[in-house]
Symmetry: C2
Amino acid sequence: MSRKEDVEAALLRLRPVVNEALSDVVDGSPPEQLTSASQHLIDAGGKRLRPVILLLAAEAVADRHISDGTDGDATAGDNPGSRLPGIPDDPSDYRHFPAADGRGVDVLTAAACVEVVHTFSLIHDDILDDDDVRRGVPAVHQQYGDEMAILAGDKLFARSFELLLETGASPANSVPALGMLSRTCVKLCEGEGLDISFEDRDGVSVPEYLQMVDLKTGVLFAATASIPAVVLGHKEAVDPLAGYGREVGRAFQIKDDLLDLTASTEALGKQRGSDLVEGKQTIVTAHAREQGIDVDNLVESETLEEVTEDEIDDAVEQLEDAGSIAYARDMARDCVERGKEHLSALPDTRPRQLLTDIAEHLVEREK
Amino acid sequence: MSRKEDVEAALLRLRPVVNEALSDVVDGSPPEQLTSASQHLIDAGGKRLRPVILLLAAEAVADRHISDGTDGDATAGDNPGSRLPGIPDDPSDYRHFPAADGRGVDVLTAAACVEVVHTFSLIHDDILDDDDVRRGVPAVHQQYGDEMAILAGDKLFARSFELLLETGASPANSVPALGMLSRTCVKLCEGEGLDISFEDRDGVSVPEYLQMVDLKTGVLFAATASIPAVVLGHKEAVDPLAGYGREVGRAFQIKDDLLDLTASTEALGKQRGSDLVEGKQTIVTAHAREQGIDVDNLVESETLEEVTEDEIDDAVEQLEDAGSIAYARDMARDCVERGKEHLSALPDTRPRQLLTDIAEHLVEREK
């Protein structure tokens, strides 16, 4: 199988497992409206990228322990073509995943936790950015009103901490995981705050933009990738996985910025170049501004309704000439390379290979 | 000293200690607007009732351990007129309070945590209820806009978990404390959701109303009173203190409902009877409705500007005739009695007496 097929096979296999774990994240406590509003975006689906990365990271760190209980060389087992443990055959294996201290830890609930945090931040961000559609359905505040959307986000926020307390990890491993989660959530808020504060600014520099991306996207990917190492008690893997996650998160956001300019309106499911029309700061515009491009007037049209494909083509050509698109593309690739370097501290297993493949896939994707 | 003086002396002594601990809850990470918005209500002051109760509860449970390290009879020590330890002379004692396992635990940071949770919920509630003024200053969303207010609430929410992880308690004691905090926050959201859902209803029953109060107010008071027992490792005191907190929280809210009708406009700092004018559900109106009173038309005026004191007087008289005011008053008193019964499981110390006094004081207060 090609790398792309490998990644897609892993996503296809793990997504249903994750969706099953997410199906009852919110219990039916009254009021009913709040339950529906809280579950709305979770039920709408999504790539489940974060929980999938968490499960693969769990496999990548559990390897040595499962194989022979030592940190030494592991030998191939039942799973031909990979070093142990490859990938659990039975999804329920994720419910009692072997920790360094011999406990069975529910990493699937940890995976649900990070998706719930992501969903909480989407719900509140959509209110802040006044976005109407998310995951192909009306945003929570569109369907349930701002009040219920604020509360639904809050409830999911609180639930994410409950979930991370339900993994069955030892208290000694749960406490640092919760520390990582709470620190991550503080940073998420600061990243979103920076993003909002950029709206009132004429322009932001590349470093300022990257700081915002790291806070808004990088820290949650870093926590996602490293929490399994924490709850499973594999301290040596925490920093490499956090480093991998941070780079992948940054690459993911940069690629999103690029796709808005380079993918087709059809593939995007929204107008190509919408960031330019709406005056959103991106890595591409931050770089172009530093090259002396008058970014705010690249596109004359001020609404998505009036803008033409020709206008966008012209703008993209100017950004290409300024080297800004190549700059962003190179930066995304560099992030992936650095992410892979971080992973090299882990044993060379199939789950580790999949984590590498996912990183590559994220910057190669066409939508 | 009278009971009231005792309570006021305790509040006067502990509030500055709490304020000091709260002064740097939010660090100066950018954006500046978010830092200011997050600190805004915390700096505006307030009764600090929850953190004070937490510190007194810590004293009430630490007693036996400090005295002689056993669960047996403690004898009086340096602190005449009380069993040990009375009240720390030095506020820094709260930073390393003796736990059952011999650790020094920072209960002052736990106290800051519950005030931060309370502040988060006030910030979001004020957006939901469109309240303009809080603690004598503009509500956060009034001063900083809805967007920053949502984020400021979120950031404080995340900070509260960080704070509870910074007490220095053992992981074995921190984990159940965090479980209590996250469960409490889920319930807070459900309580606020119920409150909002009541707005669309013609009337709510007394049990429905009490369920909402227990979720919106009771659970945080229960967590406040019992978290010190959890982080200090005094398991036997957790349930009694949670029971005390739950009853005190309910009494506190019922008394608030009563004061809106019985205190003077001057003492309240807002129009007496505003709940009636605004059609808010209270324990008094829930009871009156069950007695056949047409609660929605007790006051004809529909705004606080047009209502007269005479109108309010007439409405209160009708509520008195229906027995609804006496009913609420009795219920508040019953809560306090039950709260005191819960406390009787703890040793009879001065801090325990102060917890009793605070409960009494809450239902006797005139504003």
